[in-house]
Assembly symmetry: C2
Homo-oligomer: 152 residues x 2
Amino acid sequence: MSQDSAGVNLETSLGYLLKQASSSLRAAMVEALRPLGMTVTHYSCLELLSQRPGLSNSELARGSFVTRQSMNVLLQTLEREGQVSRPAEPPAGRALPTQLTPAGREALAEATAAVRQVEVQMLAGLTDEEQSTAFRILQSMTDSLRDDSTGA
Amino acid sequence: MSQDSAGVNLETSLGYLLKQASSSLRAAMVEALRPLGMTVTHYSCLELLSQRPGLSNSELARGSFVTRQSMNVLLQTLEREGQVSRPAEPPAGRALPTQLTPAGREALAEATAAVRQVEVQMLAGLTDEEQSTAFRILQSMTDSLRDDSTGA
DNA sequence: TGACTCATGTCAATATTCTGACATACAGTG
DNA sequence: CACTGTATGTCAGAATATTGACATGAGTCA
């Protein structure tokens, strides 16, 4: 049926499957977070801050897979809403270490529960061993793509 | 260092790793397609049409993980540039079956080669067996997320 | 036949993100 | 000390995608 004359066959392409899985995950997260009035990036930011307090804007951006400009806009909003706090002046360099406020921690709690449910659903059909394998495989893919020995 | 007091640990979360891998893949594809003046969605559209000629705008949108409105804008551009063609009137219903033109096929050839290199790089550290496992795992994740038995 | 539902194509407006740019702060090097 | 390179925060404009809305065509069912 499919004419695999040349190149990437979408039916069997791991790249395409990866995008498909990621897209499904994102859609599920958006839906899970919608009733909480929270976006995926918003959640990601709070979760990062919960696990690694004091992260800077740039570090949060990298961890959330957006530009530091986008993260900056979000942080300003969250600061205004009282979910995070940043010192008026940087303790060193230019980086402003960000902290979660009690309100932010509270907002995160609900979101974490919702997102965890999504992750559980995603892994429903996989054995523990398969999950371990998935961990290793995804890490390997990321690592292989990171070192840009393509021609730079 | 990381306080895994509650919930999703980003260090070990398969959801986070999935996003990370997908993000790395996308970045690599953007970079690979940039010298060809082609976006990822543009490439995805052409590749889909190559493997399944006659796909409609909506079908292309779903296959490329964007809205049909976004795909429509792209198709109008590609039609103007002569990479794809659509009949003036729908043969049945409202769907307009889209075809790749020779120019489109030519543009796709270069892009496919570039993207294939990226995929090869991504899979460099994985054995054939691991790749088969990855295929099954990613498929399972997508399937598990698709059936929304969460509460709807 | 008529009413209802669903999918599609398309236009417009909104939202979101990214790219470009600039000033600042620190580390390394001559 | 001065210079260079790298990283950061931030502002502004541009590009991109999304949501909302409407009309059309096909299938279902009473």
